[in-house]
Symmetry: C2
Subunit: 137 residues, 2 copies
DNA sequence: AAAGATTGATGGATCAATCTTT
DNA sequence: AAAGATTGATCCATCAATCTTT
Protein backbone atom coordinates (compact mmCIF):
# COMPACT_ATOMS: atom_id res chain seq x y z
CA UNK A 1 0.00 0.00 0.00
CA UNK A 2 1.41 3.39 -0.93
CA UNK A 3 1.35 6.16 1.62
CA UNK A 4 0.86 9.89 1.41
CA UNK A 5 3.97 10.47 3.47
CA UNK A 6 6.56 11.47 0.84
CA UNK A 7 4.22 13.95 -0.78
CA UNK A 8 3.08 15.36 2.51
CA UNK A 9 6.69 15.87 3.46
CA UNK A 10 7.20 18.11 0.43
CA UNK A 11 4.22 20.17 1.36
CA UNK A 12 5.34 20.56 4.95
CA UNK A 13 8.73 21.70 3.81
CA UNK A 14 7.29 24.22 1.38
CA UNK A 15 4.92 25.48 4.05
CA UNK A 16 7.67 25.96 6.61
CA UNK A 17 9.91 27.92 4.29
CA UNK A 18 7.24 30.21 2.97
CA UNK A 19 5.52 30.84 6.29
CA UNK A 20 8.86 31.58 7.83
CA UNK A 21 9.61 34.27 5.30
CA UNK A 22 6.13 35.72 5.56
CA UNK A 23 6.32 35.89 9.33
CA UNK A 24 9.72 37.51 9.35
CA UNK A 25 8.83 40.08 6.72
CA UNK A 26 5.64 41.10 8.51
CA UNK A 27 7.30 41.26 11.87
CA UNK A 28 10.30 43.18 10.69
CA UNK A 29 8.56 45.65 8.42
CA UNK A 30 5.22 46.09 10.15
CA UNK A 31 5.52 44.70 13.66
CA UNK A 32 2.75 42.21 12.94
CA UNK A 33 2.72 38.48 13.52
CA UNK A 34 1.41 36.20 10.83
CA UNK A 35 -1.71 35.28 12.80
CA UNK A 36 -2.30 38.91 13.61
CA UNK A 37 -2.11 39.83 9.95
CA UNK A 38 -4.50 37.04 9.00
CA UNK A 39 -6.92 37.99 11.73
CA UNK A 40 -7.02 41.57 10.50
CA UNK A 41 -7.47 40.32 7.00
CA UNK A 42 -10.41 38.17 8.04
CA UNK A 43 -11.93 40.98 10.09
CA UNK A 44 -11.61 43.43 7.24
CA UNK A 45 -14.05 41.60 5.05
CA UNK A 46 -16.70 40.33 7.37
CA UNK A 47 -18.29 43.21 9.23
CA UNK A 48 -18.08 41.72 12.72
CA UNK A 49 -16.81 38.31 13.61
CA UNK A 50 -17.19 36.10 16.66
CA UNK A 51 -14.26 34.60 18.47
CA UNK A 52 -15.20 31.10 17.44
CA UNK A 53 -15.62 32.12 13.81
CA UNK A 54 -12.21 33.70 13.87
CA UNK A 55 -10.78 30.55 15.38
CA UNK A 56 -12.19 28.48 12.54
CA UNK A 57 -10.90 30.89 9.91
CA UNK A 58 -7.41 30.91 11.34
CA UNK A 59 -7.30 27.26 12.37
CA UNK A 60 -6.56 28.23 15.96
CA UNK A 61 -8.39 27.23 19.10
CA UNK A 62 -10.56 29.46 21.29
CA UNK A 63 -7.81 30.11 23.71
CA UNK A 64 -5.29 31.18 21.12
CA UNK A 65 -7.77 33.51 19.52
CA UNK A 66 -8.69 35.03 22.82
CA UNK A 67 -5.07 35.96 23.38
CA UNK A 68 -4.54 37.00 19.79
CA UNK A 69 -7.46 39.39 19.96
CA UNK A 70 -6.21 40.69 23.29
CA UNK A 71 -2.96 41.65 21.56
CA UNK A 72 -4.82 43.32 18.71
CA UNK A 73 -7.04 45.17 21.18
CA UNK A 74 -4.05 46.39 23.14
CA UNK A 75 -2.51 47.66 19.92
CA UNK A 76 -5.72 49.48 19.08
CA UNK A 77 -6.28 47.49 15.92
CA UNK A 78 -9.55 45.89 17.01
CA UNK A 79 -12.37 46.41 19.50
CA UNK A 80 -14.50 43.91 21.38
CA UNK A 81 -18.21 44.38 20.99
CA UNK A 82 -20.88 42.61 23.02
CA UNK A 83 -23.34 40.51 21.13
CA UNK A 84 -26.86 41.59 22.00
CA UNK A 85 -28.82 38.61 20.75
CA UNK A 86 -26.68 36.03 22.52
CA UNK A 87 -24.72 37.49 25.34
CA UNK A 88 -22.32 34.57 25.49
CA UNK A 89 -20.83 35.73 22.23
CA UNK A 90 -18.36 38.52 21.62
CA UNK A 91 -17.80 40.27 18.36
CA UNK A 92 -14.45 41.57 17.32
CA UNK A 93 -14.42 44.61 15.08
CA UNK A 94 -11.49 46.05 13.19
CA UNK A 95 -10.75 49.72 13.87
CA UNK A 96 -9.74 52.37 11.36
CA UNK A 97 -6.27 52.05 12.68
CA UNK A 98 -6.44 48.30 12.11
CA UNK A 99 -7.50 48.81 8.53
CA UNK A 100 -4.65 51.19 8.04
CA UNK A 101 -2.07 48.74 9.38
CA UNK A 102 -3.55 45.99 7.28
CA UNK A 103 -3.43 48.10 4.15
CA UNK A 104 0.20 48.94 4.83
CA UNK A 105 1.12 45.32 5.35
CA UNK A 106 -0.79 43.79 2.49
CA UNK A 107 1.73 44.58 -0.26
CA UNK A 108 4.50 43.15 1.89
CA UNK A 109 2.51 40.00 2.40
CA UNK A 110 1.65 39.49 -1.24
CA UNK A 111 5.10 40.33 -2.53
CA UNK A 112 6.89 38.22 0.04
CA UNK A 113 4.59 35.31 -0.70
CA UNK A 114 5.23 35.43 -4.41
CA UNK A 115 8.95 35.85 -3.95
CA UNK A 116 9.10 32.97 -1.49
CA UNK A 117 7.21 30.71 -3.87
CA UNK A 118 9.53 31.73 -6.68
CA UNK A 119 12.51 30.92 -4.55
CA UNK A 120 11.07 27.56 -3.58
CA UNK A 121 10.33 26.79 -7.20
CA UNK A 122 14.04 27.09 -7.89
CA UNK A 123 14.64 24.14 -5.55
CA UNK A 124 14.21 20.98 -7.65
CA UNK A 125 12.66 19.11 -4.73
CA UNK A 126 9.96 21.71 -4.27
CA UNK A 127 9.29 22.87 -7.79
CA UNK A 128 6.42 20.48 -8.37
CA UNK A 129 4.80 21.40 -5.07
CA UNK A 130 4.97 25.07 -5.97
CA UNK A 131 3.33 24.57 -9.30
CA UNK A 132 0.67 22.40 -7.71
CA UNK A 133 -0.20 25.26 -5.36
CA UNK A 134 -0.19 27.80 -8.14
CA UNK A 135 -2.58 25.82 -10.26
CA UNK A 136 -5.17 25.29 -7.55
CA UNK A 137 -8.79 25.91 -8.51
CA UNK B 1 -1.89 41.39 -11.24
CA UNK B 2 -3.17 38.21 -9.67
CA UNK B 3 -1.65 37.09 -6.39
CA UNK B 4 -0.87 33.73 -4.91
CA UNK B 5 -2.74 34.63 -1.74
CA UNK B 6 -6.05 32.77 -2.15
CA UNK B 7 -4.33 29.56 -3.14
CA UNK B 8 -1.76 29.83 -0.40
CA UNK B 9 -4.57 30.30 2.08
CA UNK B 10 -6.03 26.95 1.10
CA UNK B 11 -2.72 25.27 1.57
CA UNK B 12 -2.16 26.85 4.98
CA UNK B 13 -5.56 25.70 6.09
CA UNK B 14 -4.98 22.16 4.90
CA UNK B 15 -1.58 22.12 6.55
CA UNK B 16 -2.92 23.30 9.88
CA UNK B 17 -5.69 20.73 10.05
CA UNK B 18 -3.57 17.79 9.07
CA UNK B 19 -0.54 18.69 11.19
CA UNK B 20 -2.82 19.21 14.12
CA UNK B 21 -4.22 15.73 13.85
CA UNK B 22 -0.81 14.21 13.30
CA UNK B 23 0.61 15.95 16.33
CA UNK B 24 -2.24 14.96 18.57
CA UNK B 25 -2.23 11.34 17.49
CA UNK B 26 1.52 10.98 18.00
CA UNK B 27 1.43 12.72 21.34
CA UNK B 28 -1.52 10.80 22.67
CA UNK B 29 -0.61 7.35 21.42
CA UNK B 30 3.18 7.47 21.54
CA UNK B 31 4.21 10.43 23.66
CA UNK B 32 6.10 11.89 20.71
CA UNK B 33 5.93 15.39 19.29
CA UNK B 34 5.71 15.87 15.57
CA UNK B 35 9.23 17.28 15.31
CA UNK B 36 10.54 14.48 17.47
CA UNK B 37 8.93 11.91 15.22
CA UNK B 38 10.36 13.54 12.12
CA UNK B 39 13.80 13.83 13.64
CA UNK B 40 13.81 10.11 14.45
CA UNK B 41 12.60 9.39 10.97
CA UNK B 42 15.43 11.42 9.47
CA UNK B 43 17.99 9.87 11.78
CA UNK B 44 16.82 6.37 10.96
CA UNK B 45 17.88 6.57 7.38
CA UNK B 46 21.09 8.53 7.41
CA UNK B 47 23.65 6.81 9.56
CA UNK B 48 24.72 9.83 11.58
CA UNK B 49 23.54 13.34 11.11
CA UNK B 50 24.88 16.71 12.19
CA UNK B 51 22.82 19.25 14.05
CA UNK B 52 22.81 21.64 11.13
CA UNK B 53 21.81 18.91 8.70
CA UNK B 54 18.94 17.97 10.95
CA UNK B 55 17.89 21.60 11.14
CA UNK B 56 17.75 21.79 7.36
CA UNK B 57 15.77 18.56 7.10
CA UNK B 58 13.23 19.66 9.65
CA UNK B 59 13.12 23.33 8.64
CA UNK B 60 14.05 24.37 12.18
CA UNK B 61 16.88 26.60 13.31
CA UNK B 62 19.99 25.52 15.17
CA UNK B 63 18.61 26.50 18.50
CA UNK B 64 15.39 24.56 18.11
CA UNK B 65 17.26 21.47 17.01
CA UNK B 66 19.65 21.71 19.89
CA UNK B 67 16.72 21.60 22.29
CA UNK B 68 14.89 18.97 20.30
CA UNK B 69 17.89 16.65 20.40
CA UNK B 70 18.31 17.35 24.09
CA UNK B 71 14.79 16.02 24.62
CA UNK B 72 15.46 12.95 22.50
CA UNK B 73 18.71 12.34 24.36
CA UNK B 74 16.98 12.59 27.71
CA UNK B 75 14.42 10.08 26.54
CA UNK B 76 17.18 7.70 25.44
CA UNK B 77 16.12 7.79 21.81
CA UNK B 78 19.33 9.35 20.49
CA UNK B 79 22.97 9.83 21.45
CA UNK B 80 25.37 12.67 20.78
CA UNK B 81 28.62 11.67 19.17
CA UNK B 82 31.66 13.89 18.74
CA UNK B 83 32.84 14.48 15.22
CA UNK B 84 36.52 13.59 14.97
CA UNK B 85 37.40 15.29 11.71
CA UNK B 86 35.87 18.64 12.69
CA UNK B 87 35.45 19.05 16.38
CA UNK B 88 33.01 21.89 16.03
CA UNK B 89 30.45 19.42 14.74
CA UNK B 90 28.31 16.99 16.70
CA UNK B 91 26.66 13.93 15.30
CA UNK B 92 23.36 12.67 16.55
CA UNK B 93 22.77 8.94 16.35
CA UNK B 94 19.51 7.08 16.85
CA UNK B 95 19.57 4.35 19.49
CA UNK B 96 17.93 0.93 19.30
CA UNK B 97 15.32 2.25 21.62
CA UNK B 98 14.80 5.17 19.25
CA UNK B 99 14.31 2.82 16.32
CA UNK B 100 11.80 0.87 18.32
CA UNK B 101 9.75 3.94 19.21
CA UNK B 102 9.87 5.10 15.63
CA UNK B 103 8.71 1.73 14.35
CA UNK B 104 5.82 1.77 16.80
CA UNK B 105 4.77 5.27 15.80
CA UNK B 106 5.11 4.92 12.06
CA UNK B 107 1.78 3.16 11.41
CA UNK B 108 0.01 5.78 13.50
CA UNK B 109 1.64 8.53 11.49
CA UNK B 110 0.82 7.05 8.12
CA UNK B 111 -2.72 6.09 8.99
CA UNK B 112 -3.51 9.40 10.66
CA UNK B 113 -2.10 11.26 7.68
CA UNK B 114 -4.22 9.38 5.18
CA UNK B 115 -7.32 9.69 7.33
CA UNK B 116 -6.75 13.41 7.82
CA UNK B 117 -6.33 13.94 4.11
CA UNK B 118 -9.48 11.94 3.43
CA UNK B 119 -11.36 14.05 5.92
CA UNK B 120 -10.05 17.26 4.38
CA UNK B 121 -11.00 16.03 0.93
CA UNK B 122 -14.59 15.88 2.12
CA UNK B 123 -14.52 19.64 2.68
CA UNK B 124 -15.39 21.26 -0.66
CA UNK B 125 -13.00 24.14 -0.02
CA UNK B 126 -10.05 21.82 0.49
CA UNK B 127 -10.80 18.99 -1.91
CA UNK B 128 -8.74 20.42 -4.72
CA UNK B 129 -5.77 21.08 -2.45
CA UNK B 130 -5.87 17.49 -1.23
CA UNK B 131 -5.86 16.07 -4.70
CA UNK B 132 -3.06 18.42 -5.68
CA UNK B 133 -0.95 17.01 -2.85
CA UNK B 134 -1.82 13.46 -3.69
CA UNK B 135 -0.82 13.81 -7.30
CA UNK B 136 2.58 15.31 -6.58
CA UNK B 137 5.50 13.87 -8.52
C1' DA C 1 -25.67 20.35 30.65
C1' DA C 2 -23.80 22.76 26.55
C1' DA C 3 -21.78 26.78 24.11
C1' DG C 4 -18.81 30.89 24.05
C1' DA C 5 -15.02 32.89 25.94
C1' DT C 6 -11.10 33.74 29.23
C1' DT C 7 -7.09 32.50 32.32
C1' DG C 8 -3.01 29.87 34.61
C1' DA C 9 0.38 26.60 33.51
C1' DT C 10 3.14 24.42 30.11
C1' DG C 11 5.54 23.17 25.65
C1' DG C 12 7.99 24.24 21.72
C1' DA C 13 10.18 27.57 18.43
C1' DT C 14 12.82 31.73 17.92
C1' DC C 15 16.13 35.62 18.81
C1' DA C 16 20.23 37.36 20.60
C1' DA C 17 24.20 36.43 22.94
C1' DT C 18 27.86 33.21 23.99
C1' DC C 19 31.28 29.50 23.65
C1' DT C 20 34.41 26.42 21.04
C1' DT C 21 36.84 25.12 17.07
C1' DT C 22 38.47 26.13 12.55
C1' DA D 1 36.43 36.29 11.42
C1' DA D 2 33.33 32.36 10.34
C1' DA D 3 30.99 27.91 11.33
C1' DG D 4 28.78 24.70 14.59
C1' DA D 5 26.37 24.36 18.59
C1' DT D 6 24.30 25.75 23.14
C1' DT D 7 21.81 28.81 26.56
C1' DG D 8 18.70 32.63 28.64
C1' DA D 9 14.80 35.32 27.53
C1' DT D 10 10.68 35.78 25.02
C1' DC D 11 6.74 34.77 22.04
C1' DC D 12 2.93 32.15 20.57
C1' DA D 13 -0.15 28.09 20.73
C1' DT D 14 -2.24 24.64 23.50
C1' DC D 15 -4.33 22.15 27.51
C1' DA D 16 -7.13 22.07 31.43
C1' DA D 17 -9.85 24.50 34.39
C1' DT D 18 -13.09 28.18 35.09
C1' DC D 19 -16.75 31.61 34.40
C1' DT D 20 -21.01 33.33 32.15
C1' DT D 21 -24.99 32.79 29.46
C1' DT D 22 -28.22 29.85 27.21
Amino acid sequence: VSTDEPRWRLLVSLHARVENELGKALQRRHGLGLSEYRALSRLADGSSVRMQELADSLCLNQSSVSRLVARLDDAGLTLRDLCESDRRGIYTVITDNGRKRLAEAQPTYDETLSAALDKAAADPDLASAVSAVRTLS
